[in-house]
Amino acid sequence: MTEKFQGYLRSDGRKGIRNTIVVAYLVECAHFVASKIVAGFDDEDVQLIGFPGCFPNEYAARVMGQLCTHPNVGGVLFVSLGCESFDKVRASGTVASTGRPVETLVIQRSGGTAKTVETGRAWVRSALQEVAKVERAPMGVDELIIGTICGGSDGTSGISGNPAAGKAFDLLIAEGAACIFEETGELISCEDIMAERAKTPELGEELRAAVQKAERYYATLGYGSFAAGNAAGGLSTIEEKSLGAYVKSGDSQISGLIKPGDVPPRGGLYLMDVVPDGEVRFGFPNISDNAEIVEMIASGAHMTLFVTGRGSVVGSAISPVIKICANPDTYRALEGDMDVNAGDIIEGKRSIAEVGQEIRDLVVNVAKGAQTKSEALGHREFILTYKSFDPIGPSCLPAV
């Protein structure tokens, strides 16, 4: 398969499928002003992201840097209150080094709310004209990075939606794409079968250790990665949810283990370790689904496959979300939010392979510019919180 589409060529050679201007607040105190700037551009691709905390955090700084230089992003406006700890000079330097238009507005030095909003909107207007001139270049499936998560899972997720997403992953990986699955807290009890799929025994040990770390972390917190709605939907235990979630990874060999912000070096299947290292700090690893989506995007995901049974409606800033509905009743209830009806598998109308092919084809169409349902509805959810990671070990990315 050598299907090509037109990507947005960035200075580092990576190519995007969207050309977004992001407006990023650097502390909650600048959130309102940043959102007012974005509110002036309902019909343009201008999106709000941000970090709420006033204390410094290396993880948040790195993720913000990766997001602002994501191939789907054309330019960045940082909005700072002025006294927060986020290193805005480093952040804007990271963006400037890629040649993208970047500006930082400090509310305390820009005349307050009204003047900062006015100045910000003027900058965005000029940046939109500039990013419209970005060079286009042919792009193939083998240049795509695709993430997958499941959220609002129920007892159908592991039977229909997740296996179909796994089938799509197998097809995309065979075409050279890099695919990322994640949430080690939802792989508890799967570590042994997963480790057997690793490219090397040493990587297998790393995969196993990542899940064991998640198990310890959640045990300390007292809750598994399991919401009340999972139980209402027929899931009884974390291991039942995990087995269903695991099949999103498909059947391909596992090429590596990455952490949020690490970009897969080549095509293949990667597990993202999302549970922080060291002692339990800062609370739950990912407080809601969008935190996981943001980490996939920080690792370069051009789009995310989101499998839901109960019926999540979220999208995301920066990279489109493809919503795969596992539950046929939910699909009928929320059809306007769902891109793919994997509930057909539950009802015996279509096979896992057929739905997997539909997802793969939709990925290509979205890469060509087709909007997903959540994208067209205007969903641009975003959340970034505190975490702490050590760099990945030497066995995590075996050479070819």
Binding site: S189, Y223, A231, A232, G234, N327
Partner: protein, 104 residues
Amino acid sequence: MTGPFLHLHPDDNVLVARASAPAGTEVKLANITATLAHAVPLAHKIAYRDIVAGERILKYGMPIGIATEDIAAGAHVHIHNIRSAYTPTHALQDANGQSPEASK
């Protein structure tokens, strides 16, 4: 075929509802044909055969928990009679799959 239920793996001691099954539905199980005493919502599980307390529950051929009491063939298998081998399950009033409005 077990009516509106799936037997996902030959080793499994539970079936999964592929559609909501009303009370009175007849289901062919391992050794008997049972009549459901209560409705079983889509994607919930019932026992494929008698399960004794302490036994592992198998779905997809893999362990998904441990029976906390004896479970009769055909009975709903869920958080009231199985537990995780890892972390406790958090649930609210709607864990039986009925919406709070419907159970009023």
